[in-house]
C-alpha cells in the first residue's frame, strides 16, 4: 500500500486537532479501510432533513462491526460536528453478517457498508452560505488481527433557497437504504425452551417463503443471547422458530429483546427488525437462587439436612412397595430363598452387594443431577423419564426381564456350574445389578415423604444433595438388606419348592404391565411412529430371546448362527428404536386431547388471569410416568363428587403436564420446595397463597380443600 493512502489518517493521528488550514477532506484511507462522508443531496434548503453517513470500503477478508459487535470487536462510532441549530440523529444500521472465527462469532460488515444518520438542517441556515459537516470516525477493523483506526472527514453542502434544485447526492445513500432491515411483518415472541435455550417464534403470513433460506437472529445488545451458539431454525407454515441460547447477561422476564432476523445468505440477507418480550425462565440460574414469585403460595419448606435425610430414608422404604419396584424385589427374594440354605455369610454378602447396587445408582443419579444443576438446567425427580429414549430402553429391559421370568430364556445357569467360586462372584454381581434395576425402576414412583426431601436436596450444595440421595437409596435397600442379615426373618420365608417356578412365572406379568405402561408413556412423548418402532423392537427382543434359548443345546455351528441372528435382532431393536424415537421425540404433538373436559391445560398466564378474576383454581401438576399422579387422578380427581364440588363452587381445574421437560413448571415446583410431581395446589378466591394438598389425595381431602376446610 502506498504511503499516500496513509497520509490523511497519519495527519489525523499525528497532528491531533486538525489545523484550520488543512481542513479534512470527504475521504480518508488506511491500508484496510477507505472512508468517505456521503450525503443524500448535493445541497440543502434551510429546515431540510437529509441523510448523511460514512461509507466504508473494506479490503477482502477484513471486517468492521455492527451495533452489537458480537463476542469481540468494537462498534464503529461517528461523532458529527455541525453548526448550531443543525443536528444529526442515530445511525440506522444495515443488516449485519456473521463473521465466524473459530469459537468466536462477530457481527459486522465485509467489503463495504454505509452508516447513515438523519441530518436536520437548521431552519435559519443562511441561504447562499454553506453547511459545514465534520465527522470523527473511529472503527476497529479486523481479520486475523485487529487494528483500531480513526479518521476525520468533512463536507460542505451549499444552502440554497426553498424551491431551488439541490442536485443529486451520493448514490451510496440509496444503496445503503436497501440494506436496512425493515419492520417485521410477523408477530415475534420469545418462549422458554429446554435448559438455558429460548425460541424466537415468528408467526403470521408468508412464512413458508422463509423455507430453505438461512435464518439468523442478531441481538442488538450484548448479553441476552450467546453469539456463538449455532442457531437452529425450523419453518412451519404459520410459524418460524429460531433456537437461541441465553447469553452471559440474560434479560429479566418482561424486558424486551430487540434485534434483526436476517433471511438469506451472509452479506446478501434481508433483515427484519423484531422485538419480543423475554419470558420468565430460570436460565443459568441455580435453583437455590430462584426467587419466590410474590403471590405464588407457601414459602419454600424449611427443612434441615438431617430431617430431609430422614424423610428420604422413609421415602426409600416406601418405594419398596411401589408397583414398579415390588416385582424386582420379589424376584430377588426368590433368589434369596435358594441362598438362605447356604451359609448365612454368603447371604449377607448378597445383601451388601444389592445395597451397593442401589447406592451406586443413587450416587450416579445424584451426580448426574449435580452436573445438570451445575449447568443451570432446571430438573427434577424422575427427569430421566422425560427422555423418550430412556423410557424406550427401560421398556426393552423390563420386557426382557419378563421374558426371562416367563421362562422363554434363561441366562447363566450353565455358567453357575463352572465353579462355585465363580458362581458366587457372578451371583454377587447379579445382586448388585438387581440393586441398580430396583433404583432405576423406582424413580418414577414419587412416594409420599420423598417429594419434599428431593425438593430440598436439589436446592442444596452437591454434598448435601448426595447425602439425601444416598439416604433415599439406603431406605430402598434396607428391607432386603435386613432380610439378608436377620436369620429369623429368613426362617419365616416359605420353603423352596415347585411353587417358586409358578410364582416366578406369575411375576413376569407385572413386568409386562410395566412395559405396556412405558410404551403408553412413549406414545404420549414421541408419537405413533415411536410406538411402532418400540413394539417392533419388543418383537425382535422376543425373537432374540427365543433363538438364544432354542439354540443352546444345538451344535456349535447352529448355536453360533442363532446367536448371530439374535444379536442382529437385538441390534436392530435398539438402533431402530433409538433412531425413530430420537427423531420423533422432540416434534411429537402432545396436545392434551379431549379425553376429558373436566380440566384445562395449565399455563401461568391462565392461572394468573383466573386468580385476578377471583375465580377459585385447582392446579394439578402431573406426568404420564408418575404413578402416584395417575392413581390420584383416578381415585380422587376423576371422582364424581369431587367434580361436582368443583362445578358447584365454580372451581377451574388446571392440569400442568410435566411428562416432557418444561422449565416453567419445574420453577413452580421449586417454589413449593418440590422437584417432582405430583403437586396439587388450591387457590381460594382472592387468596394470596395457594393451599398445598398432600401427595396422596382422597376425594374427601380435595372436597374439603375446595370447601375451605383446614388441611
Amino acid at each position: 500500500m502506498s504511503v499516500t493512502r496513509y497520509l490523511p489518517i497519519l495527519v489525523a493521528i499525528l497532528c491531533g486537532p486538525t489545523p484550520a488550514s488543512a481542513e479534512p477532506s470527504t475521504e480518508a484511507a488506511t491500508e484496510q479501510v477507505k472512508v468517505q462522508l456521503v450525503a443524500s443531496a448535493a445541497a440543502v434548503h434551510p429546515g431540510d432533513q437529509i441523510w448523511i453517513g460514512v461509507h466504508q470500503q473494506i479490503i477482502p477478508h477484513w471486517h468492521t462491526y455492527w451495533l452489537n459487535p458480537g463476542d469481540s470487536g468494537l462498534t464503529t462510532k461517528i461523532q458529527y460536528q455541525l453548526p448550531a441549530g443543525s443536528s444529526v440523529g442515530e445511525i440506522t444500521w444495515p443488516t449485519p453478517s456473521k463473521i465466524v472465527l473459530g469459537p468466536v462469532v462477530n457481527y459486522g460488515y465485509e467489503e463495504a457498508v454505509t452508516l447513515l444518520s438523519p441530518l436536520q438542517v437548521a431552519a435559519d441556515a443562511p441561504v447562499g452560505g454553506e453547511l459545514p459537516i465534520s465527522a470523527k470516525v473511529k472503527w476497529l477493523v479486523c481479520a486475523e488481527i485487529c487494528i483500531p483506526q480513526q479518521a476525520e472527514l468533512a463536507l460542505r453542502l451549499p444552502v440554497v433557497a426553498a424551491g431551488a434544485a439541490v442536485g443529486p447526492g451520493s448514490t451510496l445513500v440509496e444503496l445503503a437504504k436497501a440494506s436496512w432491515p425493515t419492520a417485521s411483518p410477523w408477530h415475534a415472541e420469545v418462549v422458554a425452551a429446554a435448559d438455558d435455550t429460548v425460541k424466537l417464534r415468528l408467526s403470521g403470513a408468508d412464512l413458508a417463503a422463509l423455507r430453505e433460506q438461512p435464518l439468523w437472529f442478531y441481538p442488538e445488545q450484548w448479553g441476552p443471547i450467546a453469539h456463538g451458539f449455532q442457531q437452529q431454525a425450523t419453518v412451519q407454515d404459520d410459524a418460524v422458530e429460531i433456537l437461541l441460547k441465553a447469553g452471559d447477561q440474560p434479560l429479566a422476564a418482561g424486558e424486551t429483546l430487540r434485534g434483526v432476523v436476517a433471511v438469506g445468505a451472509n452479506g446478501k440477507a434481508s433483515g427484519y427488525q423484531v422485538s419480543a418480550v423475554w419470558p420468565a425462565i430460570t436460565t443459568a440460574k441455580p435453583l437455590a437462587e430462584a426467587e419466590a414469585q410474590p403471590g405464588l403460595i407457601q414459602p419454600r419448606s424449611e427443612l434441615t439436612l438431617a430431617w430431609a435425610a430422614l424423610l428420604a430414608l422413609a421415602g426409600g422404604l416406601i418405594l419398596n412397595l411401589m408397583p414398579c419396584v415390588f416385582p424386582v424385589l420379589s424376584l430377588k427374594a426368590l433368589a434369596l430363598f435358594e441362598q438362605a440354605k447356604h451359609q448365612p455369610g454368603q447371604t449377607r454378602r448378597h445383601g451388601w452387594a444389592y445395597a451397593a447396587g442401589v447406592l451406586a445408582s443413587f450416587a450416579g443419579l445424584a451426580g448426574l443431577m449435580i452436573a445438570l444443576k451445575a449447568g443451570g438446567a432446571v430438573i427434577g425427580w424422575g427427569f430421566q423419564f422425560q427422555s423418550p429414549l430412556f423410557v424406550l430402553i427401560v421398556a426393552y429391559l423390563l420386557f426382557a426381564v419378563g421374558l426371562s421370568l416367563s421362562g422363554v430364556f434363561t441366562f447363566g445357569s450353565r455358567i453357575a456350574g463352572i465353579g462355585s467360586g465363580l458362581a458366587a462372584r457372578g451371583g454377587y454381581q447379579g445382586s448388585f445389578f438387581t440393586g441398580v434395576l430396583a433404583a432405576v425402576v423406582a424413580t418414577p414412583c414419587t412416594a409420599p415423604f420423598m417429594g419434599a426431601a428431593i425438593g430440598f436436596a436439589v436446592t442444596q450444595p452437591a454434598v448435601a444433595m448426595l447425602a439425601v440421595f444416598l439416604s433415599l437409596g439406603a431406605g430402598l435397600a434396607l428391607p432386603y438388606w435386613l432380610l439378608c442379615h436377620w436369620p429369623a426373618w429368613q426362617r419365616r420365608l416359605p420353603k423352596p419348592g415347585a411353587w417358586m417356578e409358578t410364582l416366578k412365572q406369575g411375576l413376569a406379568f407385572p413386568m409386562y404391565a410395566t412395559t405396556a405402561w412405558l410404551i403408553w408413556v412413549l406414545a404420549r412423548q414421541a408419537g405413533p411412529d415411536a410406538v411402532a418402532a418400540a413394539l417392533l423392537g419388543l418383537v425382535l427382543i422376543g425373537l432374540a430371546a427365543w433363538l438364544y434359548q432354542i439354540s443352546r443345546p444345538a451344535a456349535d455351528f447352529a448355536r453360533h448362527l442363532a446367536f448371530s441372528v439374535a444379536t442382529l435382532a437385538l441390534t436392530v431393536a435398539l438402533a431402530g428404536g433409538t433412531i425413530v424415537v430420537g427423531a420423533s421425540g422432540s416434534t411429537a404433538t402432545r396436545q392434551a386431547g379431549s379425553e376429558s373436559k373436566a380440566f384445562e391445560v395449565y399455563s401461568a398466564e391462565r392461572l394468573s388471569r383466573l386468580r385476578a378474576e377471583g375465580t377459585p383454581v385447582f392446579v394439578n401438576f402431573t406426568a404420564d410416568w408418575c404413578i402416584t399422579c395417575l392413581v390420584n387422578e383416578k381415585v380422587a380427581l376423576a371422582n364424581r363428587q369431587v367434580l361436582d364440588s368443583f362445578r358447584e363452587r365454580g372451581v377451574v381445574y388446571l392440569k400442568g403436564d410435566w411428562t416432557n421437560r418444561d422449565p416453567a413448571i419445574a420453577e413452580v415446583l421449586a417454589q413449593h420446595g418440590r422437584s417432582g410431581v405430583p403437586l396439587y395446589l388450591y387457590f381460594a378466591p382472592g387468596a394470596q397463597q395457594a393451599a398445598v394438598l398432600p401427595q396422596l389425595l382422597t376425594p374427601d381431602l380435595v372436597i374439603g380443600a375446595v370447601k375451605g376446610a383446614s388441611l
Binding site: L74, C142, S404, T410
Partner: protein
C-alpha cells in the same frame, strides 16, 4: 436368573444420557472449569493446586492494541501488583495458536513481561486453545476471577469503555480494580458479569 448382559443394555442407557451432563462455558457462582497447563515459569500448572487462593485469569495477546492500551498505560501491571499484595494469584493465559498473533514461547513471554513491568504470578501457554475454549474466552483482554473454593466469581472485561484509546482508561469504571477492592474488604463482587472488549482470541482453529 437375571442376565448381566441385559444390564449392559442399562449401562448403555446411562451412556446415552451422559452427554446431557457435558456443558461448556463457566457460570458465575459455579465451579470454574479445571485445567492443567504448561506454564512459562516451567512445569505444569493445575488450577486444582491453587485451591485456597483467589485466582485471576487474564487472556492476553501482546500484539493486540487493546492489550497494549492496558499494558503501556500501566493499568494491568498496576492491577497485577495490587492483586499480588492481596495474595491473589494472577495468571496470564495466551491462547494464540502457533504462528498466530500473540503466540509466544515461554522465554519471550517472560521477556515481554519484564519489558512491560508486568508481574503476573505465571503465564499459561495455551497454544491449542483448549483452556480458552473451556472458559469461552473470546477477547484479549478478558478476565476471570476464581475464589479459593474454585467457584467462578467474575467473568468479563477489564473496564467499562470499549476502546483502544489510553485516554479512556481514566474515565472508565475499572471492573478489576473494583473487584479487588471488594475482595479485600471481604465484600461480594458487585458486577460479576461484564461485556469484554478487545481483539478476538487468536485460536489455532
Amino acid at each position: 436368573m437375571l442376565s448381566q448382559r441385559l444390564f449392559g443394555v442399562f449401562a448403555l442407557s446411562f451412556t446415552l444420557l451422559a452427554p446431557l451432563a457435558v456443558r461448556a462455558e463457566p457460570v458465575v457462582g459455579q465451579p470454574a472449569p479445571a485445567f492443567t497447563a504448561t506454564a512459562a515459569e516451567g512445569g505444569a500448572l493445575s488450577l486444582a493446586d491453587l485451591r485456597g487462593k483467589t485466582v485471576i485469569l487474564e487472556w492476553t495477546n501482546h500484539e493486540c492494541p487493546f492489550v497494549q492500551k492496558h499494558y503501556e498505560s500501566g493499568n494491568i501491571p498496576k492491577l497485577q501488583k495490587q492483586a499480588a499484595s492481596q495474595g491473589i494469584v494472577w495468571l496470564q493465559v495466551i491462547s494464540s495458536g502457533t504462528g498466530k498473533q500473540g503466540f509466544v514461547d515461554a522465554a519471550t513471554a517472560k521477556k515481554l513481561n519484564q519489558e512491560r513491568g508486568a508481574t503476573p504470578a505465571n503465564t499459561i501457554l495455551d497454544a491449542n486453545g483448549s483452556i480458552g475454549k473451556l472458559y469461552g474466552a473470546t477477547n484479549t483482554p478478558q478476565l476471570f476471577i476464581i475464589d479459593p473454593k474454585g467457584l467462578l466469581l467474575y467473568k468479563g472485561g477489564i473496564d467499562s469503555i470499549a476502546s483502544a484509546d489510553k485516554d479512556d482508561i481514566a474515565g472508565a469504571e475499572n471492573y478489576i480494580d473494583s473487584a479487588l477492592k471488594e475482595l479485600a474488604a471481604g465484600k461480594p463482587i458487585s458486577k460479576t458479569v461484564t461485556k469484554p472488549y478487545g481483539c478476538t482470541v487468536k485460536y489455532a482453529s
